[in-house]
Subunit: 118 residues, 2 copies
DNA sequence: ACCATAGGTTTCCTTTGGGAAAGTACTTTC
DNA sequence: GAAAGTACTTTCCCAAAGGAAACCTATGGT
């Protein structure tokens, strides 16, 4: 008798696994959590503002990650009719639903730091 | 006057950003969420069991990710005195504290799928 | 002897991620 | 008219991630 998966073999678990994969696909990369985290605090920020806020990010990566997030409808990109031209990035209502995830992760990270430093 | 970061420049925000970085460092890689998610369901599993449960993971990556997680005290590795030798992996109490994160991510992923398919 | 099982490690290879710097285009300020 | 600011894109390059397959040790079954 050949052995097969059993724990993850229920419909519920398969859904859960797929859900985790889906979410992490959207949020993969070094900067997405930082961008979303920053936009959760800052409401609406320009490109250069974001680059200043997010320590270490280069223009290329920021540009690319913003595009990814925009494609997935998590953030909006609005070109303002100002001189010089400015662009503002903000979370969509949909993107804002990520707050619980970000908060859980931040919360865990704080607790983690307290644990290892004691 | 040189422009500087302001949104992320408070002590609270710096802590939050660092916390997110910390957490994601521990959980980076393609398989860690899957391993933890599976162990949250399965309690205690052997190497081959994990490989069967986690669709697509190769022995090398599984081995490496398990080592990473063990080093960070998120899982335990126990060699059993059986013949043939077996090893069981389980979440530590500390690793179990990741459940809210995993659950939030899974929950969001399910909602996400419902959104895009409508 | 031969195969299957458990639990890996090692080698080789390809793909992806990511950074630095330069280039584009337009506008305002000195 | 030169510099500097906004908002990128493009190119070039390197390092890290990840997969496939072979290999290793050991035991038990037929």
């Amino acid at each position: 008798m050949k052995k097969e998966a059993f724990v993850n073999n229920t419909t519920v678990c398969k859904m859960k696994i797929r859900a985790i994969t889906d979410t992490m696909d959207l949020l993969s990369g070094k900067w997405k959590f930082h961008i979303i985290g920053t936009l959760l605090e800052g409401q609406s920020l320009g490109f250069m503002e974001l680059q200043r806020e997010i320590d270490g990010v280069g223009a290329k990566m920021l540009s690319k990650e913003l595009k990814d997030l925009e494609m997935n409808k998590l953030i909006s990109r609005t070109v303002m009719d100002t001189k010089p031209i400015t662009v503002k990035y903000a979370l969509t209502d949909y993107g804002k639903t990520l707050r619980p995830i970000i908060d859980e992760i931040a919360h865990w990270g704080v607790a983690y730091r307290n644990t290892i430093t004691n």
